[in-house]
Point group: C2
Chain length 263, copies 2
């Protein structure tokens, strides 16, 4: 089994499980925030456990970096084989949203080089896959970024994240908020990043993200013809400190950086 085969298998297996748990939630009519968060954590953790078990069986000894259960630390060894997991990206949306705005994200890297990645949207059944150098696909069909060539026509995806990051987001992304063709915020990085890969959005901006939020989505966007950097224009180091994240269709990347770089 190759790395991308493991990713595809995990995403296809776990999508139905996640939706089954979400249907339960709706049946139970959970409404209070604390209870909802409890359920969420349970599904989050169980999903991550199942992914970790699949990896452990196929690639024992690989490092695992995930959002839950003590996996939120980076590999010590440079160039290590590492798996980067977000069992449910768009956590609040999993519990509360009319549309299923959440996804499962799994990526494989050697050191800072992303080599394979996939995102599943269990609510629609969409599965996105990419291998470094081999292109990106949606449900088995090749996908390509948009040809939109200016900020004024661009669909910009932005995550405001929690209140501590709001002022930096407003400051840094000000020109994009004022002049982007459309501004959309889903509170789920996978949705913004896969929308770039599928040609449905043109840029995604975040002032600070952890690798599990973007690893698979970034590779998908790049392999669909897009570009990535931090907000200062430097290459993204998956396990380093970055000045935020900009992923785009490539065509508008430089124009966006002129607005996003620190003055």
């Amino acid at each position: 089994m190759t790395e991308i085969e493991l990713i595809a298998h995990a995403l296809e297996t776990l999508g139905p499980y996640v939706m089954e748990r979400r249907a339960d939630r709706e049946h139970l009519g959970i409404s209070s925030k604390s209870h909802a968060n409890d359920l969420l954590t349970e599904v989050d953790i169980e999903t991550q456990r199942r992914i970790v078990a699949l990896i452990g069986a196929a690639f024992p000894g690989d490092a695992i970096v995930g959002e839950e259960e003590g996996y939120a630390r980076y590999p010590d060894e440079p160039g290590a084989r590492a798996w980067i997991i977000d069992p449910i990206d768009g956590t609040q949306n999993f519990v509360r949203s009319l549309l299923p705005e959440f996804g499962i994200s799994i990526a494989f890297a050697r050191g800072n080089e992303l080599l394979a990645g996939g995102v599943a949207f269990p609510g629609t059944g969409d599965v996105f896959l990419a291998e470094r150098g081999a292109g990106a696909s949606r449900n088995g069909r090749p996908i390509r970024v948009s040809a939109v060539a200016s900020l004024a026509l661009a669909r910009v995806e932005l995550d405001f994240d929690g209140p501590p990051k709001r002022q930096p987001t407003l400051d840094r992304a000000r020109a994009l908020l004022l002049n982007g063709g459309q501004v959309r915020c889903h509170c789920a990085a996978v949705l913004g990043l896969c929308s770039i890969a599928s040609g449905d959005a043109d840029a995604y901006v975040h002032v600070s993200l952890r690798p599990w939020d973007y690893a698979a989505g970034l590779l998908l966007a790049e392999e669909a013809g897009g570009a990535s950097s931090d907000l200062s224009g430097h290459p993204v180091r998956v396990f380093g400190e970055n000045d935020g994240l900009l992923v785009s269709n490539g065509r508008i990347h430089e124009e966006l950086l002129t607005h996003l770089r620190r003055a």
Copy 2:
């Protein structure tokens, strides 16, 4: 046939037509903005024509207010029977989006009093209906707004709209952007408003909307137990000039107004 029966019938009939046209778009692989907009306008206009024909047959002589084809004017006579139509709210999303973030919106009013309304999300099959005084439903089951009681825990839906409205939105909604529990933007008023009605969001803010954008969604949110006003706290006049729009679960309405009212 009552007004709400006509609305339910129109939404159920037109949803499949809209999705059929959207599937065509995907099959044709349209990517350029101008072509995409042409297709959109065609589906928009044809959907509106079909709604207008249903209304004309059942309630001849009623005023019709819609986004397309010269219907974008308000009735002259106070207290007139009027239908308020947005054939596809979330127009760009219809053409470009991973998730089906668009809806069909139909409302019935006498003068400024909204009496019946419905929204269909053809991409998920969801149909929301409400009659004044009789509650709101989603796919036939009663729905209720959330119990979230503070801005800090609230999911706030906000539309940035086109660039001319961006600075006013940033200025007016600043405290909500900085302090809301979560901030989400879908570029489709029906999605924000129906999310309040279903308990999946807690507030929706826009600095300027036309009646076809919000008429049905506002009634749905109110009938699910929510509240509405303009951003200064005055009642919304469907066919008047309003200082923007705030719709919420009711519990946080006053707290939000303290931030949204002009200083």
